[in-house]
Amino acid sequence: MERLNVNPTRMMLTTLKKRLATALRGHKLMKDKRDELMKGFLELARENKNLREEVEIRLKDVYDSFTMAGAIMRKEVMEEALMLPKQRVEIQVKSKNIMSVDVPVFDFQMSSTGEEEIYPYGYATTSGELDEAITDLSSTLPLLLELAAKEKEAQMLAAELERTRRRVNALEYVKIPQLQMTIKYIVMKLDENERGNQTRLMKVKDMILKEALEEKRQADEAVM
């Protein structure tokens, strides 16, 4: 691990110690966030998978019904019948905050709910197969919408989870060791300087003492 390229001064030491404390706290928080996200995500992904499998099966049935209807009716008639929809689906989007991820919540409203109201055509020119197809599709609708909500949530959580995981790893394996190593380096360097200084002082003291002794001796000789 490369240590940071800094001057080994006392001030830098203080700064780095503060940064290390922040990094450690951040690491703990991120780790907690990761664990919490993971807990919710796995549950969600499992639901998402089951829901999707069901929707795909039901959509296949719907398509089959439409194919049947298409085989019986003329294409133009069928398209004409479906041209002007009676039912409308409207959505309100609210948001839900899951571990600081802004996840959308869809609120559905169908403008018509009655059984017979979903068919946008009169029965004169259309066949029963088309009715069946439309009924199938409209009963799949809530599932389809739920799938959209779940899948979007899962996607967003997955993205956030990946980011958080990266951050945890970066802090744990790069940032924190780097800071610790640099702090250790500065402490050692400062200690080294301290020892060097001590030796120098002792040496200087010795020299001064010797000089003083010499002077005293000369003074004594002069008196004698």
Binding site: L42, R52, L59, F66, Q87, F106, L137, L161
Partner: protein, 107 residues
């Protein structure tokens, strides 16, 4: 108030119109990209895209992953599922956890 849209080939999207979705007919990926861009600017909260187109426009679609709306969801088209939707879920798990732990390695 938001809307729901469907992009796909003519045959597959026909029925969706009857239940109140707004449908956009589209043959190829390039056309789909244009439609998608336009729809993203309008108030579409959910856009269903048939799997074949979804694969062709994957890059464009990924740009919307982090946004709250629209949610772009692959659905099988008339010819049956290509498994894109499920592999998407699988990918999300792999991305989040680092390993695929939901599906078991065999799929």
């Amino acid at each position: 108030m938001y809307k729901i849209g469907v992009i796909g080939d003519r045959e597959s999207i026909l029925g969706f119109k009857a239940v109140g979705f707004e449908v956009f007919q589209c043959a190829g990926g390039d056309e789909g990209k244009k439609i998608l861009k336009k729809m993203a600017k309008e108030d579409f909260a959910i856009i269903y895209v048939t799997e074949k187109l979804y694969v062709e426009m994957k890059k464009e679609i990924d740009e919307y992953t982090d946004l709250r709306v629209p949610a772009i969801i692959p659905v099988p088209n008339r010819e049956g599922t290509l498994g894109v939707g499920l592999s998407n879920v699988k990918q999300a798990v792999e991305r989040a956890v680092g390993a695929d732990i939901l599906f078991g390695g065999d799929r």
